[in-house]
Subunit: 327 residues, 2 copies
Amino acid sequence: MTTPTPVLLFGLGPIGQRIARLAAAREDLRIVGAVDIAPALTGRDLGEVLGLGRTLGVAVRAEPGAAPEGCVALHATGSSLERMAPQFRALLAAGYHVVSTCEELAFPFFHHARVAQALDGHAREVGRVLVGTGVNPGFAMDTLPLALTATSERVDHVRVERRVAAASRREPLQRKIGASLTPEAFEEGVRAGRIRHVGLPESAAAVAAGLGFRVDRIEDTIAPVIATERLTTQFLTVEPGQVAGVHQVARGFEGARERVSLELVMSVSVPASVDRILLKGEPDMALTVEGIHGDTATASITVNAVRSVATARPGLRTMADLALVHR
Amino acid sequence: MTTPTPVLLFGLGPIGQRIARLAAAREDLRIVGAVDIAPALTGRDLGEVLGLGRTLGVAVRAEPGAAPEGCVALHATGSSLERMAPQFRALLAAGYHVVSTCEELAFPFFHHARVAQALDGHAREVGRVLVGTGVNPGFAMDTLPLALTATSERVDHVRVERRVAAASRREPLQRKIGASLTPEAFEEGVRAGRIRHVGLPESAAAVAAGLGFRVDRIEDTIAPVIATERLTTQFLTVEPGQVAGVHQVARGFEGARERVSLELVMSVSVPASVDRILLKGEPDMALTVEGIHGDTATASITVNAVRSVATARPGLRTMADLALVHR
């Protein structure tokens, strides 16, 4: 057994707490700190906050403090790269490597090139690694399709279809995808930015960059899935004609030629979650996965990525830059 | 466009020539040398040897010579680590990184620990990377299952089933799996070491090590697939009762508990190739791939791995140590 890697938990919202629980259960990790700005949490023992039934000897504080050698901050506070960038800079400056669930960090070089370049420069300067991960973006619609191309001679087109059975998921997710709204309220939610899966264009950009596609344009469209029958979950009921979920598509183009098409359906009308990847090229390939668990997958991959940080080069990295992330 | 990576082709048998053709077609690689010991090849231009209809300005020679900076040798001469070790040592000493199709190199730490340790020490000493790859071992039954566990909270058991439709493959492969032999001749071929897929125990060891299973024993069994009807390929006919192919199983145990089970069927009776991965744990997952192309996949992944060598740490590495290998 090698020495456990020290980790800091940064952000103790629902995802951050899941990450914390996984980290607390791992023999190869040692929790050395926990940070959250909520006054209700600061000062309390992390084990108590997590409801573990035991203390962890780690008091939640409002600031990270200086990093022990080789410490990895597990960051889970938000999706927007612009808004998270100051947190990343502060963590890097304090000496932490950072693995974050920030969706726009997963592949920021296309849509947020300037912020990405600045963060990359900063991370290199201080000799630390910064990387975004998660199930989506971070795995199902970018890293896994790229991994599948390992035996490809040539890839002409990548199509990924991800269908998420939202009926068994937590209430905030069912609300986030617009379930039980009228189509009009759904459109209003989209316009207001309340309804949207963040990260699909980032996944399209990651796939394109990985495969050397010279994609100059990424389209991102969003539409409601309309229920054709009454659908009932633990939290809500959807009547026929109401919204059951979201249908989002990101497409990457080289001029007029589509090279990447990512289609995400998250809906309480989807009977079972399934991921499907279709490669056109030499050879054509088709991959199907059943069972990726949406609620725990992002927390798991964040914790699983820690091992690969140790061998990564300093800078802003992507999942494809890391040594293979696995349990 | 970054500067192309210089590559040396080492071994120009069937797989080596496939690798050479792929390398010659890639803009990101530059062939700087080609080595084969066959007197019929030495002195001839590589383009002519490959039948490209053009010269490449690279004469096949019997020795590699000194490596240009950052040069990667693509090694494809044999399956046995013991027999290949002197070639690896010579290439590393001459300054080459090495990506090899040698099956026993894919994960040599369990079955060939002493040789592996020596090669690792030598590679570190000279600051070069040595890594084994291929479709199997190297991808379908080890790297891909490990990649699937990225979102796993816990993995209890890994099962992989790989079925290869051998009827459409080249004649030497059909002969190697015993197609058209009597069961007695098959057993004789197994005893003589002529019939056996090399690398299955290595894949089992790679999966176990990646997931932290404390596997202390790996069983490797081989049995014939017996034809129940007449089967005809371009090269041979199998009568009912004769051998259609090989059924090989590698199982890894922690004490009495099975943790890994890899089942490989290569047979002219298999109608279509398919790979299936089943994870038991939290959560259970099932993955199916159709279309991995046996004949070109090993050559493709060898060429695709070159990019990841540049960022790998010196030493004997495995596919899981490298930055994600993709097209």
